[in-house]
């Protein structure tokens, strides 16, 4: 695992996504399913009502025609009806009123066709063995299933028996299939809806748009259809979902079937449902993106903190190394200083003893005198080295000495004078000549001053100016470093002393200068503050307690 936070990142992402997406999608999906359920239920109810209405209409159609035939049969005699001219007139009158009879026939009790008007040549036929004839003779009124008969065309008939004082006969009419099929078809809706009638054997009595021609078997198991009006969802042979309403017709042999593909009817409602799903999907995507971005930002922040900590640790380790190096230097210097002091004193003593007269007496006196002087010079050289080492070591610990702050500022400025000239920055030192000496750590004060002056030069930029003033304020010494730069925005003013906070370009500043300076001033019992007003250049002020060293 190269990323220390990969695990945390994964866990956070998963938890946040669960917390955000579960309720949202739970709500969305339950809405979706409720939509679906409600729509389907609405459609089923609609189908049930349509099946009921259409079944009534079909029943009415059949009942009206049966009644008409009964009236005819009862109001006329066999001899009258056997007159084909009269029968033909009767048929045309009836059809003028769109009763949609194809033909009319009179059959006597023996099954012989006594009279026939219609498009087929059936005059000579005997119907003694025809099921509809036997049923009509038995029941009085009979509506047949569709059959081929002598004419070899699928049709169904209504037959009415009449008894008249010993002789009985049957009046039979064939119903115009087109009219009847149209009537049934009014029950179907849309491009995909289907409506048809099946008989007890499951044969189609009217053509089905999808299921085939009349007399074909319908894909329907009649034994599975319970009595009464039923509405069921099913899957058809093509694999589409279909809602099927079945309504038995009153004369008992037929079943009206209405098939409806819910997709077509529910289109607008489903659109709303799909829009809801789409919105849900978009919202989920948005949440996922937001979570990922937030987790990424959070992890970045953590990594940045780690990097800061690592840099601070490195800084501390570096300081610790410097301190131990300083200790070592001090130890070495000390070990050398003692023999050095002895050499110095011994040579000095020799010099003291051998004054000029005595040297003159000696043959090589001049050489001895010179050599003693040279020994002192060499001791001086070594002393310079060891004292420099000690100074370096002392810089690591606060070391109070009486300090001339003005002189310190001048010296500090001398370090950066070349930079200022090079960048054409005008530097003014307005130092109070009456400034008292203070007890402080000169080296650390110098570090702070250098830092502030460097910052000011950076802020002033080409052609700007920097002003450093010193003075006594109450019981404190104050040193101000002002620049002509853009100043510090109000929202950053609180953070500029934070470690690793920098406004400079990456690689230009560590962001440690001001925080270290701030820490140094606190350690020295003083303070470092930003004093500028927004819109003006920055003004940093160093304050030091005015504790003048006692004059010895």
């Amino acid at each position: 695992m190269n990323h220390p936070y990969a695990n945390l990142s994964r866990r956070m992402t998963v938890v946040a996504l669960l917390v955000a997406l579960l309720p949202l999608n739970g709500l969305g999906l339950s809405l979706y399913y409720y939509f679906n359920y409600a729509n389907t239920e609405t459609l089923k109810e609609e189908l049930r009502i349509r099946a009921l209405n259409r079944a009534s209409a079909i029943e009415l159609f059949l009942a009206e025609r049966t009644a008409l035939l009964e009236v005819l049969a009862h109001s006329a005699r066999l001899t009258q009806l056997s007159n084909e001219a009269a029968l033909s007139r009767l048929l045309s009158i009836m059809n003028r009123r769109s009763w949609s009879f194809v033909d009319l026939g009179i059959i006597d009790a023996n099954g012989d066709h006594r009279a026939y008007v219609g498009p087929y040549l059936l005059k000579q036929q005997n119907y003694r063995d025809a099921p509809w004839f036997q049923q009509a003779m038995l029941k009085g009124v009979y509506i047949s299933d569709v059959f081929l008969g002598y004419r070899q065309v699928p049709h169904f008939v209504i037959a009415v028996k009449h008894d008249n004082g010993g002789e009985s006969w049957v009046l039979r009419a064939t119903i115009d299939s087109d009219v009847f099929n149209r009537l049934v078809r009014t029950a179907q809706v849309g491009q995909t809806g289907d409506a048809y009638i099946v008989d007890k054997q499951g044969r189609l009595q009217t053509p089905s748009r999808l299921g085939g021609k009349v007399m074909d078997k319908a894909d329907l198991d009649l034994r599975a259809v319970p009595p009464g009006i039923t509405v069921k969802e099913r899957v058809n042979a093509a694999g589409d979902k279909v809602i099927r309403a079945c309504a038995p017709l009153e004369h008992g042999n037929w079943l009206l079937v209405i098939d409806q593909n819910p997709k077509e009817i529910l289109g607008p409602l489903n659109l709303a449902r799909n829009v809801e799903l789409g919105v849900l999907g978009l919202a989920s995507l948005f949440i996922i993106a937001a979570v990922l971005i937030m987790v990424r930002l959070f992890i970045r922040r953590l990594e940045a903190n780690d990097a800061e900590r690592a840099a601070l640790d490195a800084q501390l380790a570096h300081s610790a190394r410097l301190v131990s190096l300083g200790r070592m230097a001090a130890g070495v210097a000390h070990e050398i200083n003692n023999p050095l002091a002895a050499i110095s004193e011994l040579a000095g003593e020799a010099q003291d003893i051998l004054d000029a007269e005595q040297l003159a007496k000696l043959e090589e006196g001049e050489v001895v005198g010179e050599n003693l002087g040279r020994i002192q010079n060499q001791v001086e050289r070594a002393r310079n080295v060891t004292h420099r080492m000690l100074k370096f070591a002392r810089r690591m610990e606060p070391h109070l000495e009486s300090t001339d702050v003005n002189e310190l500022i001048r010296e500090t400025y001398s370090f950066v004078e070349k930079d200022a000239l090079f960048n054409n920055v005008r530097v003014e030192l307005m130092l109070d000549p009456a400034l008292p000496l203070v007890q402080s750590d000169r080296a650390q004060l110098q570090q702070v001053a250098l830092n502030l002056i460097n910052n000011a030069l950076d802020a002033a930029g080409q052609g700007g100016w920097v002003r450093v003033t010193s003075g006594v304020e109450g019981n404190e010494l104050a040193v101000r470093v002002c620049d002509s730069g853009p100043g510090v925005p109000r929202d950053l003013a609180e953070r500029i002393f934070d470690p690793f906070f920098t406004t400079k370009a990456p690689g230009q500043g560590t962001g440690l200068g001001l925080s270290i300076s701030h820490a140094i001033m606190q350690r020295l019992g003083g303070s470092l503050e930003l004093e500028s007003k927004p819109g003006m250049g920055a003004v940093f002020v160093i304050r030091l307690p005015n504790r003048a060293p006692e004059a010895p």
Binding site: S344, L346, E349, D352, H387, L400, Q439
Partner: protein
């Protein structure tokens, strides 16, 4: 110099202490060496010098401890501490215990003599001990 100053030079490095005493003598001061803390205390008892030049880093009884005893027994004696190291804590401690000055070896003889004379003057005034600044070099 009207008054002769009595100086005791104390260092575990015998050559140094002796040579320093000798040089001070040649410059018109009274000087005697001592080679350790205890010896220094004994000689101060007998001889009562005005100034003691005292090395900080010595075995058995180091300079700071010696200084403590000296100031307790003879508050009038002025002590100049010498050290090969520039330890701030030792300097602070020494000054707090009433040393007059804190010098880093090797010290040029002229500087040491100037310091001895100043200490003598202050000893005469019976000023407050322990408020002298640390010398930078």
């Amino acid at each position: 110099m009207h008054r002769t100053i009595k100086v005791l030079t104390v260092d575990d490095d015998r050559e140094f202490a002796a040579a320093l005493a000798e040089r001070l003598e040649l410059r018109g001061l009274w000087a005697r060496p001592a080679y350790g803390g205890w010896e220094a205390l004994r000689i101060v008892e007998d001889w009562s010098p005005e100034v003691v030049v005292l090395d900080v880093d010595m075995p058995l009884l180091d300079g700071i401890a010696t200084l403590g005893h000296l100031k307790r027994l003879h508050p009038g004696v002025e002590v100049i501490l010498l050290t090969g190291r520039a330890s701030v804590s030792a300097a602070m401690e020494g000054l707090a215990l009433g040393a007059f000055e804190f010098l880093i070896k090797p010290t040029p003889i002229e500087e040491l003599i100037r310091c001895i004379e100043e200490a003598c003057r202050r000893g005469g005034e019976d000023g407050e001990p322990g408020s002298a600044p640390v010398q930078g070099e």
